[in-house]
Amino acid sequence: MTTTTLDTTAEEAGTLDDSKLRSVLGNRVRPDRPGAVSASLTFGWRAMLKIKHVPEQLFDVTMFPIMFTLLFTYLFGGALEGSPTAYIQILAPGILVQTVIFITMYAGMGLNNDIKKGVFDRFRSLPIWRPAPMVGLLLGDAVRFILASLVVLTLSLIIGFRPEGGVIGVVAGIGLTLVFAFSISWIWTLLGLVMRTPEAVLNTAMTILFPVIFASNIFVNPDTMPGWLQTVVDLNPITHLVSAVRGLMGTGAETSDLIWVFASSAALIAIFAPLTMRRYSRL
């Protein structure tokens, strides 16, 4: 009992060793600064460590997709396509896209939290490639995207999803989703830098994402929608992403859909990455 108390006290106070202190200060090793890739990977490693220490954050990545997939398949499957098994063939690629795109928001929240907690001051005062903290954050997100994709995919396969495109088609579909997710994430990094609180980031991102996700072909065939809505749906990059992923996992994607996805991804990065960086250097 006594020993424990003593231990804690010693631990709390710690001993600051003057001679050791002088020796660490005297050790003036100044390695060459790391390259862009190395710095980004270090931030990616940080994201992994955070998952390790705060595994609760994976709850959103695993539970929501499971809930959504089951709910939509069994609730709407019969009505929309005659049976849940028939519906999951159409729904699986869509719900995969929806899941991944929704969790892109966390990039903005994470960033906002880092700024609020002051860690970002430290990063910004380092002589490193400037986008590295953001790129590292997104690299860490990629792991969550992949995990969420695997959850949706596994569940869909259990329910009866039978992708004709085989393993290659499925991998290509997930890959394409990741490309778009990585691109749209730059909107949230910008929001993360501009907004005051993580909650504000989340609310704004939700407000943008909800209509974009639902005004698409994820859940239903747009043919039954009013004309104006069809136009909206057709202009929505998510629609083309979903079509392309369905194609890749099925019997082949339309080139036009692929072009839409790559072009909108490039546009998102071209607009929002520089805005993010500009804001970052002027925080």
Binding site: L16, S23, R28, V29, P34, T42, G118, D121, R122
Partner: protein
């Protein structure tokens, strides 16, 4: 090196219509501890953040180690470190993980980073807490890991923003030791503080800053001398005697007399030492028992009062009120 470690000319930062930093001129020579002293909201953090390239000045110019903070920000970054007012380490990560991450970002290889992290944790007395998440550290431990994080690569110049605010006396002493070790090692230190005794203890030169302006600058003794007078401190044996003594001090010295919160300590400006001697006799004749007496240089508290016309505490309360309003 004749070059200045830090030089600012008319540095300005405006937030909305609040001139947080309003034309600050500083000249800091290498190897010294320079103290930026001021109450809440004076503009200390804003100044230091501009110098550490974290905030872009709205006016004026600043060079750090000969490099412009705007046009040569990257060069500044590679030679300075900053320990912010609030811990700038990752709360979710352990002490080791934080330091290894920073070492990697500064170019150490994996093995080198681990070795450096271990060495730092050991020197800062955090060896036992190395594998604990920072969120489980005490305030003093946080401060130490934060400073350790700033010297993963020993910088030529370090910014310490209120390094001891909120620490108990023991932890405060430890931080002071670190600062002294840094100076002994030749590092230039720019620290901010609200504690006058801290500036007095550590800083070779002090700039007093209030409402974004430097209102006085010099060594601690210069500042005290600039206030002109010595300070008389008297402690009497009871509150009823303090009343009497206060009146006599006013009559004899003619200036303002401050009664401390304990009710029995008085201090006043004493321009003429011979008056003081006479005053002591008068007090004794009047039956006012003096239990403590000193005539010395004014404390920095008094310097601050003389310079700004308001005591430090008053300002603090005002800012606190404002913050409470902001919360509401």
């Amino acid at each position: 090196m004749s070059e200045l470690a830090i030089e600012t000319k008319g540095l300005v930062k405006v937030f909305g219509d609040n001139r947080a930093v309003d034309g600050v001129d500083l000249q800091i020579t290498p190897g010294m501890v320079f103290g930026l002293l001021g109450p809440n909201g004076a503009g200390k953090t804003t100044t230091i953040r501009m110098l550490a390239t974290l905030l872009r000045p709205d006016g004026g110019s600043a060079t750090v180690l000969g490099h412009d903070v705007v046009t040569e920000a990257d060069k500044v970054r590679s030679r300075v470190s900053m320990t912010g007012q609030y811990a700038s380490v990752d709360e979710d990560l352990t002490g080791t993980e934080n330091l290894v991450m920073l070492a990697r970002l500064l170019g150490f290889d994996k093995a080198g980073a681990k070795a450096r992290a271990a060495e730092l944790l050991d020197a800062f007395g955090l060896g036992d807490a190395a594998d604990r998440q920072i969120k489980n550290y005490s305030g003093g431990m946080r401060r130490r890991i934060d400073i350790a994080a700033s010297i993963v690569v020993a910088p030529d110049l370090i910014f310490l923003d209120e390094p001891t605010t909120g620490l108990d006396p023991r932890s405060r002493n430890q931080v002071w030791n670190v600062v002294r070790a840094l100076v002994a090692d030749g590092t230039t230190v720019l620290l901010t503080t609200q504690y006058l005794d801290e500036a007095d203890q550590l800083a070779d030169r002090i700039a007093v800053i209030d409402h974004g302006k430097v209102i006085a600058e010099g060594t601690s003794s210069e500042l005290k001398a600039s206030v002109g007078a010595g300070a008389l401190h008297v402690r009497v044996s009871g509150p009823e005697r303090a009343e009497r003594a206060e009146q006599m001090l006013v009559d004899s010295l003619g200036g303002e007399v401050i009664r401390e919160s304990d009710g029995v300590s008085l201090s006043a400006r004493a321009d003429d030492p011979t008056r003081v001697a006479a005053l002591l006799t008068e007090l004794s004749n009047a039956g006012v028992e003096v239990t403590e007496f000193s005539l010395g240089q004014p404390s920095l508290d008094e310097v601050f009062l003389a310079l700004t016309g308001h005591p430090v505490e008053e300002e603090t309360e005002r800012v606190d009120e404002r913050e409470e309003e902001a919360v509401r």
